[in-house]
Symmetry: C2
Subunit: 226 residues, 2 copies
């Protein structure tokens, strides 16, 4: 029984990867660089996007917004005059806890890829399942709020291991928490040695220029990364 179950799951991930490659081919053809932005609920993905997405030099940026239900984040971003497309996952299974490649693909007709240089896909707030599903992205960025504690990289290793950049958010709260930053960074290096990381505060704006520059560089990149 167990072996059958595993095979079905592998088939599902195979199918996901096939569709993710098709998405990626479409993105590359249109010259759009794509970021898959992930975090636990309430870690600050949307506010970190609000901080930078309107101030990218000469880059046309859009957002694909994944939520179980509602369009609270999409409405916030749309008010910045950034093109936003909403994906709601609630028709499936009382609310899917992640975006997969096919959900993203089904939204692409509503996204005008030809008019974009950079597309940020804001995933559903969850530290487990989104890490399993490639959606065709060039890079994965995760936001880890220091309010979540030092042990998150050890408890949710796949998410921390499969991203290219970790935004360590809410550092304005450092004086008010029993949070050991050195220990967190040690745990991060234990699961993803040397991964790029930035200390930021979406609330005060501290450190967000580095995040902006990172997006700027990715979006301006003419070649597909190796």
């Amino acid at each position: 029984m167990h072996r059958v179950k595993v095979r079905v799951v592998e088939d599902a991930l195979d199918a996901n990867n096939t569709i993710a490659r098709a998405n990626r081919a479409d993105f590359d053809r249109a010259g759009v660089r794509v970021v898959n932005l992930m975090s636990a609920p309430g870690a600050g993905k949307t506010t970190l996007l609000e901080r930078v997405v309107g101030s990218l030099d000469g880059l046309r940026a859009g957002v694909l917004e994944g939520d179980v239900q509602g369009s609270y984040d999409a409405d916030r971003l749309a008010s910045l005059h950034v093109p936003v497309t909403q994906i709601n996952t609630d028709p499936g299974f009382g609310g899917e806890c992640h975006l997969d490649a096919n959900m993203v693909r089904s939204a692409l007709p509503a996204v005008s890829l030809e008019s974009l240089d950079l597309l940020v896909i804001e995933n559903v707030g969850n530290l487990v399942c989104p890490a399993e599903f490639r959606v065709g992205e060039d890079a994965r960025v995760m936001v880890s709020s220091i309010t979540e504690g030092e042990d998150q990289p050890l408890k949710y290793p796949l998410m921390f291991r499969t991203c290219e950049l970790v935004l360590v958010n809410k550092i304005d709260l450092l004086p008010h928490l029993d949070f050991d930053l050195e220990k967190f960074l040690h745990n991060l290096d234990a699961v993803n040695p040397g991964v790029a990381r930035m200390l930021v505060s979406a609330r005060t704006g501290e450190g967000v220029e580095g995040w902006r520059d990172w997006l700027q560089e990715l979006g301006a990149r003419p070649e597909v990364p190796a």
Copy 2:
């Protein structure tokens, strides 16, 4: 295709509910009241348990600890001399994002139900999928950290709707956040009108006596709630 998929999912939830009823029957037979404790990652479930689980009057409490990987939380609780059983979900699907009834059932041989009055099942940190899966609990408690923002009840409605008690945690950070408590409580009442809620700080201990009393009352209850 879509209809077939839905039917399979319903079958899976049917099977889960069947096993959850079997778990519940075992709990009732042993006279153990069971809490399913849920939250986003890093919201403070373990610290809130540490605060109270050793100080329940005349109640023998145990913990079933669900994590994708590792035993960081279980080790913390075991140091309080509380019987703790670890469930790791990582053998399934690269890490299941929730506990289901069968995972709990498979752990029961390691839990000495006869020697307990109260069992707290600490679920995997996730605001979506754990809400779908009953595990045989008497009551569902969720922890919502104010660092996650006011809109969490609207964005993750099933979780907030299906719980009997909401612990609004980290209120010691209220002076340091742009968090509108009234708005959060309004959103909470919009999805689960009048649900019991307590403002607590796992860090300072503020309000945790109410949480302790709530567990005490549940654990001392001789009858199965209607």
